[in-house]
Amino acid sequence: MSMLMNNEAALAQLSALTKEALEEKLGKREKAGAITAALYNSDMERRKDILLAKNPAGIIAGLCALSCLTGAKKAEIVSPCVADAAVANGLKAAAEKAGLALTLTEDDFVTKTEHRSDLLVSFEELAAIAEKLAGEEPKALYAVGDGDLAEADPAMTVKAFLESQGDVPEDIKGIAVDHAFCPAGALETVTLGQLASRSGVIRVLTGKDCILDRARKEILSLRKKSCGKCTFCREGLYQLQVNMDAVAAGRGKTTNFEMSQEIAEAMLVSCNCSLGDDAGKPVTTMMEYFRDEAEAHVRRKECKAGACLAFLQIYVDPAKCQGAGECAKVCPVDCIEIKPGYTALIESFDCTRCGKCIDACPNGAIVRTAGKVPRNAETAVRLKNAAAAAAGAADADDDEDDGASRSSARAGAARRHRTLRRPGR
């Protein structure tokens, strides 16, 4: 039987089992007023919601078993999926058949203080209970990236699982799972069972993924979902964001990392729900396994993966520029200057690294790099082709006088910044 298939057998088994028999199979449980089933608050992937649609019988069987073990009188399923009529009806039908008092609540978050006397359980746990009832050993549920959820042997290593789901990139440097980062080196020894992921979704990190950028994205998504009641989750995430943003913007100091690590480590033991428990992990695992890459942003002003914009440069290769002017037209901040007869020049200070000019250039002359701008690209140079030269010669007489540029909005600013050097004669 698969946890992703409707486990009617489990429901059937249930009616035959006494409480003692259940305790033998599943272990004893403390008393509870009600059972609340949901995904963990920290689970933003919500891949395991699919269990509600695919295995309603198993879910209900799990709820019934737990009700019997805890003495709970009612059960609740909390998920945005219950808004889907088909899913809701499937669950309600199974509940009615089993004689279970069930409420469906459309929400993506469980406030634990509203369930003080309830047993909180995940959908996977319920499906696993159903497997046990049907006499099977439950497997682990995992997915790679946006792929489908698959069942796998918990003893399988992460590496083997990744390989089973498709090609593993050559330049894999680690994985991101449950807001934490894991280095590539560990993947060959850590098993799926040891990983014990709540969301079940493993995302592969390659050379193109900047660990700091990923950490910032995790922090932002955690801040968005956080309920804000716990001091460490609410304020801690804010401090982490400000610190990491400073680093990503090129203003970082080592104190940003020291402070963030101190706060993140404290967060691991100072919150009340799974989201809070995970909130510190992006920073703690980044510092534990990818410290060099992270600190390079400060120590060497370098973003190895080329993702943090502050460490990127976009420049016009004068060898390729034909003076088409398409780049200046699309620049949203008007930071590209084109004098007639000269190559385009990007003002680095104002450039937001949006990259629109790169796509606009018909000659592929604009380059984005994580390194420094080459010397020959620091100034505009005379265009080599004849027509442009002719136009340039005609203008050459007057360009000495006032240096007027065709992109008029930039004129004053260009003079202000004084980064443009007049081409020598």
């Binding site: 203080t113 003080r116 801040r223 968005k224 956080s226 309920c227 804000g228 009641k229 716990c230 001091t231 460490f232 609410r234 304020e235 801690g236 804010y238 401090q239 400000v242 610190n243 402070m259 101190e262 706060i263 404290a266 033991v269 100072s270 009340n272």
Partner: protein
């Protein structure tokens, strides 16, 4: 079951399962805390109360620990200090730095925590939450920038009170406490009970009015504070809401003996200050009092009245009005032998001979005057005393409470003609069914309630035409609006803004009219003298055959009474704060001392006199008694839809045409169907005083104080 736990170096015996933080705090061990509150379910989110449990790694919030036998707890360690301080730094990073400009300065729990922990947010990136202070709600200010998200207000509103108006909202990554859809409190069905302000440890949710700790109770329960006898109004209204009229009346009787009378005529200073009035309209307190007094047989409180053993001392009270009766009643209960001498045939004073019976039926006065017998007061009616000092040979103390039963006649031209009547005499004669000498067309001079009593009595006595004229303009007339309206309905012609020029003689020494001029301006100059500016050429005459002066009353006591007299010929009480007169052993109370005021003020004066006289006679001066059951109010009050919009119920009056020809009572009070609803409107401002107060480090052992100093 009791278990033994150890916290630092102290061994404690506590109930099994008790909250460890509470156990510590109650046993004199201070552990800093913010989100914990003994009356609220635990949250465990602030992380200040963390402790180490022996045998376990790491730290746990002590508010989430339940005491188990043999538990060993450490409240201080490097790990604890680090995490606790870090938590405070994080909280302070989002908290405004301006302690000194915050209205909560000096009364702020957060401020004491900062002081104790000596931590600041210098290592953190500070942020300003960017909320505008919300002063749009009545009574409660929301200043969300100061919020530390302790969650106490949400739990207090939801779980302690059962109202649930405050919740967590989130806008653009910022979580804040607010109402559903950020509605105004009134629209969110807030009950303005103040529990949120009571538990808030910062200046975030606070009362709109500032107060010092000493002023707090009087500011927040203004009805009780402003009542001259400080009746526990919220408490008796709560009983009325529950239908417990016996208990409610008992609460009232703890402070005053005449709830049924006052329920009809009290000037209700309480309603003027009622905080419900800031929400929509004040609670109809007087009518509720009347209703409850009418719906009990009084047996509950009567069985519990205080009656001390006989002291052997004798007191004589002169005057059977509210002041005298109250003093006699309390002195009698203190064990003294009291004789009350009243000059008129019945007890009541102004209640019987001043206020007309259509406002205060005489059987009600008689019934409540009857309570004096519970105190074994001997009543002698028809006895007038002009020389109180003579009584000192027979009595150990004398109280003069003769009121102001002599009306004032202004010395204007014509004030000595036939047909001139005066308020006090007129009302007394009407009350006693005696001939008043009133004619057919009456002009009453004066604009206060007494003037209207005269006017409306004149209507009922059969006058054909009744006019009332007074100096004040309509907006500043002293009489209640209700009186003016009802008098007008009954056909009284009201002429505000008139000076009384002269009373006209018909040639035979009898009144035939009054000449008035319109007032253009009326003010008091810098010497506090009244200045009236008349309109030019505005003289006019109102024809009449009777003029009743209703411009004031004075004491009716012989000039040679032997007592020093004060302003307006009142009885002087030379010592500040004392009701003793110039003659030792003789005291004075009521209108006779301070001039014509209200019934309730007279009751208060009577109580003060009883206290002072009791002390004078060797007693302890403690006239307090407990008549109501000793139960505490339930903190849970529940949600009421549209609470802030519930309208005030009024008493029901008989229609003008039906009521203006006899002295039958004109009001039946609030009807049965509305009494419960009206009492439900009360905000129960006293309930928040039942919430456990903040525990500050400075309340604890000297060790705590020493630590904080480091």
């Amino acid at each position: 079951m009791s278990v033994t736990i150890k916290i630092d170096d102290r061994t404690l015996q506590v109930e099994e399962g008790m909250n460890v933080l509470e156990a510590a705090l109650q046993n004199g061990i201070y552990i800093p805390h913010l989100c914990h509150h003994p009356d609220l379910p635990e949250l465990g989110s602030c992380r200040l109360c963390i402790v180490e449990v022996e045998g376990e790694d790491g730290v746990t919030p002590s508010c989430k620990l339940e005491a188990k036998d043999g538990m060993v707890i450490r409240t201080k360690s490097d790990q604890i200090s680090h995490l606790r301080n870090l938590s405070m730094e994080l909280i302070l990073a989002a908290h405004p730095e301006d302690c000194s400009t915050c209205p909560k300065y000096g009364q702020c729990e957060m401020q004491t925590l900062i002081q104790y922990m000596n931590v600041s947010a210098t290592r953190m990136n500070r942020r300003v939450k960017g909320f505008k202070m919300n002063e749009e709600n009545p009574l409660i200010i929301h200043d969300m920038n100061r919020c530390v998200m302790c969650g106490r207000c949400v739990r207090a509103c939801g779980e302690l009170r059962g109202v649930g108006v405050l919740q967590y909202n989130k806008k653009e990554l910022e979580t804040y406490v607010g109402t559903l859809h950020d509605k105004l409190l009134k629209d969110a069905d807030c009950r303005f009970c103040g529990a949120c302000a009571e538990v808030c440890p910062t200046g975030t949710i606070r009362d709109a009015m500032n107060y010092t700790p000493i002023e707090k109770r009087d500011t927040l329960i203004p009805c009780q504070a402003t009542c001259p006898v400080h009746t526990d109004i919220p408490r008796y209204i709560r009983y009325v809401r529950q239908g417990k009229y016996a208990e409610a009346t008992a609460v009232i009787h703890e402070k005053l003996p005449f709830p049924e009378c006052l329920g009809r005529v009290c000037t209700r200073a309480c309603e003027g200050k009622c905080r419900r009035g800031e929400v929509n309209e004040p609670v109809s307190i007087r009518n509720i009092k009347r209703y409850t007094a009418e719906h009990t047989d009084n047996s509950l409180w009567m069985n519990k009245i205080k009656k001390l053993p006989a002291t052997g001392k004798k007191v004589c009270v002169i005057g059977g009005g509210p002041a005298g009766m109250t003093a006699a009643y309390y002195l009698g209960k203190q064990g003294h032998s009291v004789t009350l001498k009243e000059q008129y045939p019945a007890l009541g004073g102004q209640m019987h001979y001043g206020i007309p019976s259509y406002r205060l039926p005489r059987d009600v006065v008689e019934k409540e005057a009857g309570f004096l017998s519970l105190a074994d007061v001997k009543v002698e009616t028809g006895v007038r005393v002009d020389h109180p000092a003579e009584l000192l040979s027979e009595f150990d103390a004398v109280l003069v409470a003769v009121g102001t039963h002599k009306g004032v006649i202004l010395p204007i031209p014509g004030s000595d003609l036939d047909g001139i009547l005066v308020n006090a005499t007129f009302l007394r004669q009407a009350s006693m069914g005696e001939e008043t000498g009133m004619g057919k067309k009456v002009v009453i001079l004066g604009g206060g309630n007494v003037a209207f009593d005269c006017a409306r009595s004149a209507v009922r006595l059969g006058a054909e035409e009744v006019h009332l004229a007074c100096l004040e303009k309509r907006e500043v007339m002293l009489a209640d609006d209700e009186e003016i309206e009802q008098a007008t309905e009954e056909g009284v012609h009201v002429h505000p803004g008139q000076t009384f020029d002269q009373i006209l003689d018909d040639g035979n020494g009898h009144v035939c009219g009054v000449q008035f001029s319109n007032v253009e301006k009326f003010y008091f100059d810098e010497n506090r003298r009244a200045v009236t500016v008349k309109e030019e050429n505005s003289e006019h005459v109102i024809e009449c055959d009777t003029v009743i002066f209703a411009v004031g009353q004075r004491i009716d006591l012989a000039e040679d009474s032997g007592l020093e007299r004060g302003r307006g010929n009142s009885i002087a009480t030379p010592t500040e704060g004392s009701l003793a007169t110039s003659v030792p052993g003789i005291f004075a109370a009521g209108d006779a001392v301070y001039g014509t005021q209200t019934v309730i003020k007279a009751v208060a004066s009577g109580r003060d006199a009883a206290i002072e006289i009791d002390k004078y006679l060797g007693g302890d001066g403690d006239i307090t008694e407990t008549l109501a059951p000793a139960d505490t109010a339930d903190q849970w009050i529940g949600h009421i839809d549209g609470f802030g919009y519930l309208e005030r119920s009024e008493e029901e009056f008989i229609a003008a045409e039906e009521r203006d020809h006899d002295f039958r009572p004109i009001s039946t009070g609030i009807c049965d169907a509305e009494i419960c609803g009206e009492s439900r409107r009360c905000l129960q401002c006293d309930l928040r005083f039942g919430i456990t107060g903040h525990r500050l480090w400075s309340d604890y052992s000297n060790d705590a104080k020493e630590e904080a100093a480091i």
